[in-house]
């Protein structure tokens, strides 16, 4: 990644904001990768997951 020297204080603040956003995206990506690679043995019932999605009625048949 090329380093861009901010010319002014305002530009520096703007650049800091951009970098913070990039870091948040990287954090999110790392979290997703963790999820992709792991199974810690925790289980969730279909009923609980349906409830989280407001879809309990779809199970009644």
């Amino acid at each position: 990644m090329a380093v861009r020297e901010p010319a002014t204080y305002e530009e520096a603040l703007e650049r800091i904001g951009e970098l913070e956003e990039e870091l948040e995206s990287l954090d999110a990506l790392l979290l997703l990768r963790e999820r992709a690679a792991s199974d810690d043995g925790t289980r969730h019932t279909l009923e609980d997951v349906a409830r989280e999605l407001g879809a309990e009625d779809l199970l009644d048949r």
């Binding site: 997703l32 992709a36 199974d39 019932t45 279909l46 349906a50 999605l53 879809a55």
Partner: protein, 139 residues
């Protein structure tokens, strides 16, 4: 009728479906997934998954065997079903964009439960790849 359980990662697949798709396909979503930027469509797809999981609960063997898929290794003893939101029209009749990969446990013959290991888009065989990483190593 048997119990259906989702691994922690599979639950996350479903509840964070849009975020996972964005991470893999870019944001905002485009092409066949563009409509999932709309909350109502996203929820409709998630409800489609719940319907599919209910069909597994009612008929554990409804999913096609993974062994029919070439390239499978660890997940050969599992099954998969497809799902989408009601009313979705793909390029072909009956097209569905998503896949659930599960395993009947403790065994296929007399299952007590179906454990879901991955829920993801069919594109790039994503659900199979996730399931391969999460599949139990034995028994």
């Amino acid at each position: 009728m048997i119990h259906v359980e989702l691994s922690d990662a599979a639950r996350d697949d479903l509840l964070q479906l849009r975020e996972h798709l964005r991470a893999r396909h870019g944001a905002p979503l485009s092409g066949e997934f563009a409509e999932l930027e709309d909350d109502a469509n996203l929820l409709a797809v998630q409800h489609g998954a719940i319907r599919a999981l209910a069909t597994i609960r009612d008929n554990p063997w409804i999913g096609a065997e993974n062994r029919a898929r070439t390239g499978s290794r660890r997940i050969v003893d599992g099954r998969h079903v497809y799902f989408d939101r009601e009313g979705y029209r793909g390029r072909h009749a009956g097209d569905m964009r998503f896949r659930i990969v599960y395993r009947l446990e403790p065994d296929e013959g007399a299952p007590a439960r179906a454990t879901v290991y991955a829920i993801a888009e069919r594109a790039s065989q994503r659900a199979y790849k996730l399931a391969e990483r999460r599949w139990p190593r034995s028994g």
